[in-house]
């Protein structure tokens, strides 16, 4: 993982697809189609994925198997997405979640 890109996962298998672009908190980032969103963020140097709902402390990449709630983010308006197990697609809009996430009426 020279560039900080995680290529091997203990249980998930992911092939490096084509290069895609996605938005993270208003910035355009690159990643590979089909890799977990968290991997693309990690490779781009993003280490803080959310803040804890109670004490507002930073939370980073932790269990990497969709279990721990450390990486809950809002993806395309959907709150509480576990980005460590959500596959990256072209044009996704990933945002850091404040508080517990917001359920949108028109989603």
């Amino acid at each position: 993982m020279d560039d900080g890109r995680i290529k091997r996962h203990p249980i998930l298998e992911f092939k490096e697809g084509r290069k895609v672009h996605f938005m993270f908190d208003g910035k355009e980032l690159e990643g590979y189609e089909g890799e977990p969103i968290a991997c693309a963020l990690h490779a781009a140097g993003v280490r803080v994925l959310r803040e804890s709902p109670g004490l507002k402390r930073p939370r980073g990449f932790f269990c990497a198997i969709g279990n721990c709630s450390s990486c809950l983010m809002t993806v395309d308006g959907r709150p509480n997405v576990r980005v460590c197990v959500e596959k990256l697609r072209e044009g996704m809009n990933v945002t850091t979640q404040k508080g517990k996430g917001v359920l949108l009426a028109d989603n």
Partner: protein, 400 residues
């Protein structure tokens, strides 16, 4: 490391406190919200030495498994009166019981949805009755309902009714609030203590046998929820009463988006968002057979998810955290059985038919009045056990 001896000390002292008394002035069977409320209210009246026996831990049964709604929108005068009184009690419960935490009473209202013309007619009738009794309820058009719940899908909704002072609370906190307030007044609470027989002598209560010993007493109050039929049979009483499983689930939390409890009788669902942010929802199953099973089924998970994503579509984005089940203690008329029995000294507080949690405050008050031989502050002679024999049922049309 210093925590260890502390924990030990606490465990030991609570074990000493758990020593079962040989005699008591009253024994309450059942450590749910009803039993703890009764014990507290009796102690408040200074009734004497009160022991509460619970076969497992506090709120382990229907209380801790319920949807925890508190509503005043009922179809019978009696249920309206009982719930008006209870809502007032919930509003000042933290203060009255000196509870150091919070019972998490959220008065976000109840939004009831009518899906058929017949149901709409029933709602109009209910609202007339409720308004007469001073309940601040109003009839709403589907679009007005959407103003209160923006995530509501109003397809097929004929009309809705809304009462802003309804709501929900945390059933664990309410039970513990009553238990701790009761203890402060001298109530002895014995958990993991199962009553297995009530001793009688010429039609009068003499005592209660438990797995931890026998307590002599003249007064036994049965607040055993769905197991009340079992308790009643200890003195040879057959009450028209059966347990029925109801399932429920909870989602992950999100920021507040749903104020009221949303409920439909014809579609048999209810859904609320707790102050914590999670959604709690349940649905009745008309095919459910009477029984004591509290196991969960995958069918419920699927049916509940399908139903709620139709009614509150954005909720479909949320993950379910867990599901569980609990028992309703059903009576033929969906009203509780409150009061004395042909066995002198045995009182019943059971048969709440799925709304015992919300009636717990008023039930504790009324039963304590009856046990103390006072005139009950609400006329509940129609809720006695004898009504089934007399054929004087008070049918509640508005239940899930």
């Amino acid at each position: 490391m210093k925590v260890m001896p502390m924990t030990w000390a606490r465990a030991t002292s609570s074990r000493i406190a758990d020593e079962l008394p040989k005699t008591a002035d009253a024994v309450v069977i059942g450590g749910g919200v009803i039993g703890t409320s009764i014990a507290y209210h009796l102690a408040k009246k200074g009734f004497g030495r009160i022991a509460l026996v619970e076969r497992s831990y506090l709120a382990c049964g229907s209380s801790g498994r319920c949807g925890a709604g508190v509503r005043q929108q009922w179809g019978t005068k009696l249920n309206c009166l009982l719930s008006i009184d209870s809502v007032k009690a919930f509003e000042r419960m933290d203060e009255e019981l000196g509870y150091s935490r919070s019972i998490e009473f959220k008065q976000g209202g109840y939004l009831l949805l009518a899906y058929t013309r017949r149901e709409a007619e029933q709602f109009r009738e209910n609202v007339r009755l409720q308004q007469e009794l001073g309940i601040p309820v109003s009839l709403l058009t589907p679009s007005e309902a959407r103003e209160i719940v923006p995530i509501l899908n109003t397809d097929c909704v004929h009309l809705a009714t809304f009462c802003p002072t309804d709501g929900h609370a945390n059933p664990f906190h309410v039970t513990y609030a009553y238990a701790t307030a009761g203890k402060r007044l001298g109530v002895k609470i014995h958990t993991f203590t199962e009553a297995y027989d009530i001793m009688t002598e010429s039609g009068k209560v003499e005592g209660v046998k438990t797995n931890k010993g026998t307590i002599s007493t003249d007064v036994v109050i049965c607040a055993a929820g769905p197991y009340s039929g079992v308790v009643a049979r200890m003195v040879g009483l057959d009450i028209p009463f059966y347990p029925e499983r109801h399932q429920i689930l909870v989602t992950e939390p999100v920021e507040p988006v749903l104020g009221p409890m949303v409920m439909s009788f014809s579609r048999r669902f209810y859904c609320q968002q707790t102050p914590h942010g999670s959604f709690i929802m349940g649905m009745g199953d008309p095919k459910e057979k009477p029984g004591f099973s509290v196991s969960s089924t995958w069918e419920f998970l699927v049916e509940m998810a399908e139903e709620i994503t139709k009614v509150l579509p954005p909720v479909g984005q949320l993950s379910v955290v867990r599901q569980w089940a609990g028992l309703y203690d059903m009576t033929p008329d969906a009203h509780p059985i409150l009061g004395s029995t042909p066995c002198a000294g045995l009182y019943l507080a059971c048969g709440f038919s799925g709304h015992g949690f919300m009636l717990a405050p008023v039930t504790g008050k009324l039963i304590s009045e009856i046990v103390c031989d006072e005139e009950p502050s609400i006329d509940i002679h129609g809720l006695d056990l004898g009504r089934f024999e007399r054929g004087e049922l008070v049918i509640e049309p508005s239940v899930v």
